[in-house]
């Protein structure tokens, strides 16, 4: 449905996005993940025909974004990072206006607005002016205006921005409910959001695609590395062990083959409780627990800190975007 071919966008000499190349099929729900300034908003603005790329080509349903923007806009519903709402209008009037602006017939608007009010949970506030709504409701109205004309492609830029936890859950449910009816592009800098709503992830970093894959593939490309934090009491560790409890802890964990990195620290000078951050090649938490108990440590907690995808996101963000499938160890070698 969408073909992005070597698209770059420069603001002066600064590249907002550089050489983007990807395809999105009809019905997919794709998440654009990246830190602030990664190029997500620029990419979505190019796809919604608000901006033209400096070079490259975008086609949506076979239509060129440069040559046929008006035709493409009929196919698109767009929610920018700040919902475009007229505060003095009532929710119902605003949705009617948005529908008519997208070339819907009056009869179609009259049929569609109640449907959208219902699907976005806005029936109770339909007659309220937008200025009086909470941020969460304004975001819902933003989504409602984007879907009122039943677009083929729905583009949502940071749809959960500024929402409280309850509103985030509600918004997530709403987006999930829209899957299947539209092709959805969604941007966020929050990984868990993308993980919970999208089929596929495009990870952007400094205007480039750092990784693109389904969530399972991304996790898999890192050998499913996970990070865990454990807390042990060293009271029953034999005193004669060379190097003390820290060395004993390292020795015990080294015997577990999938432990890749170990960082050990003591909680305080007087305490006999030690904390260790581990990087595991596979999820081998049971083996780690067994090894610690066998070595005489009292295991107080073992906590999963991050998944492979999370770790990869952090690595890409901090290290300037290494290629997926290449671990830090492989790079070092």
């Amino acid at each position: 449905m969408i073909v992005v071919d070597k698209v770059s966008k420069y603001y002066g000499v600064h590249p907002a996005v550089h050489n983007l190349e990807f395809r999105i099929d009809e019905g997919e729900c794709v998440g654009f993940l990246g830190l602030n300034g990664a190029g997500k908003t620029t990419t979505l603005r190019i796809l919604s025909c608000l901006l033209l790329p400096t070079s490259g080509r975008v086609t949506i349903k076979g239509l060129d974004a440069e040559e046929a923007p008006h035709e493409i806009r009929k196919l698109i519903g767009f929610l920018p990072d700040t919902p475009p709402l007229y505060p003095e209008m009532t929710v119902r009037d605003f949705l009617g206006f948005a529908g008519r602006l997208r070339r819907m017939e009056r009869e179609a608007v009259e049929r569609r607005v109640p449907e959208v009010l219902s699907s976005c949970g806005l029936e109770d506030v339909a007659q309220q002016t937008i200025a009086t709504l909470s941020h969460g409701y304004k975001q819902r109205v933003g989504i409602a205006q984007a879907i009122v004309h039943e677009p083929k492609l729905l583009i949502l830029d940071e749809p959960i921005q500024g929402l409280d936890p309850v509103q985030i859950v509600e918004m997530r449910e709403m987006i999930r409910a829209l899957r299947g009816q539209h092709t959805i592009l969604l941007s966020s800098h929050i990984l868990s959001e993308i993980q919970q709503t999208c089929d596929r992830i495009l990870m952007l970093h400094e205007g480039r695609i750092a990784a693109t894959a389904a969530e399972e593939e991304l996790a898999g490309s890192r050998g499913k590395r996970i990070r865990v934090r454990l807390e042990v009491r060293a009271r029953s560790v034999p005193d004669h062990s060379e190097g003390g409890p820290e060395s004993a802890l390292r020795t015990a964990l080294r015997d577990v083959s999938d432990v890749l990195e170990i960082n050990v620290s003591k909680q305080s000078e007087r305490s006999d409780v030690w904390t260790a951050d581990l990087s595991l090649g596979l999820d081998c938490r049971e083996e780690v627990a067994q090894a610690l108990v066998k070595a005489g440590f009292g295991l107080r907690s073992l906590e999963l800190k991050s998944t492979g995808l999370e770790q990869m996101f952090l690595q890409l963000s901090h290290q300037g975007g290494e290629k997926p499938g290449t671990s830090s160890e492989e790079q070092a070698s």
Partner: protein, 246 residues
């Protein structure tokens, strides 16, 4: 209803539902009423013709200020609220957006100056002035307002960033353009031909409004205001179209 009609209707409803429109209209009616009382009528006896001409001089100036403020509601206001994204991601041509927003403000201007008709009506009832003179003066005020609104549209289309500062900058830019055009008339008074004619010709108020207040309807003034409006609206459309490239 086409896109232009849709935008006009929404804009007019916004003028009625928000305080901005009422504040500007009240400002115009209050200041022009006070100036009518203090400057046009005054404390000494005057011919009704002089009173009417003075009223048009004052009201014309107030129309310019009111229209500079009114023009902020057009593109700069949309940008500050972020609602321009809705318009520019809809299948609506940039020219339709410009025309729709402009026509709405022109209709508001028409209603606003129509509400001040009671002032010349007082002169008409108590003095001896012709209806034609009043009509010419009001046409002049209307055209002067339309030109100022078009200049305001053009100025705000040039500012592409989306902050409330854009509203302030748009106000300053519109005021600057209008002031520079008027300044041309004063410079024209002290400069040599043929430049003086060219420079002073650009002033919408000093050069192309004063014939109307005297009751004169000149083709050159109509052409001037028509040209300013067309230039500014077409320029705004082109600037908006070019913003996709920025």
């Amino acid at each position: 209803m086409n896109s232009v009609g849709l935008i006009v209707r929404r804009e007019l409803s916004s003028y009625l539902k928000t305080p901005g429109g009422y504040i500007i209209a009240s400002f115009f009616l209050l200041i022009s009423g006070v100036l009518f009382n203090v400057r046009a009528v005054g404390s000494s006896a005057r011919y009704s013709l002089e009173v009417l001409q003075q009223y048009f001089i004052d009201a014309g100036g107030v129309v310019v200020v009111a229209c500079v403020l009114l023009s902020l509601r057009m593109l700069a206001g949309e940008r500050a609220m972020g609602t321009h994204v809705l318009l520019f991601t809809s299948p609506v041509r940039e020219g339709d957006i410009v025309l729709g927003k402009y026509l709405a403000s022109v209709i508001f201007l028409l209603v606003m100056i129509a509400l001040s008709l009671y002032l010349p009506a007082l002169i008409f009832v108590n003095g001896k002035v012709s209806l034609g003179h009043i009509a010419a003066g009001y046409l002049g005020m209307f055209l002067l307002g339309c030109s100022t609104l078009a200049i305001g549209m053009f100025a705000s289309s040039m500012l592409s960033f989306n902050h409330f500062a854009a509203v302030l900058l748009s106000l300053m830019l519109t005021a600057l353009i209008v002031s520079l055009l008027e300044l041309g008339w004063w410079i024209g008074q002290v400069s040599e031909p043929p430049m003086n004619a060219l420079i002073s010709y650009m002033a919408p108020y000093m050069k192309h409004f004063h014939p109307f207040r005297r009751g004169l309807l000149q083709l050159s003034d109509l052409v001037y205001h028509g040209s300013v409006i067309c230039f500014c609206l077409m320029g705004s459309t082109k600037i908006l179209q070019s913003q996709r490239w920025r």
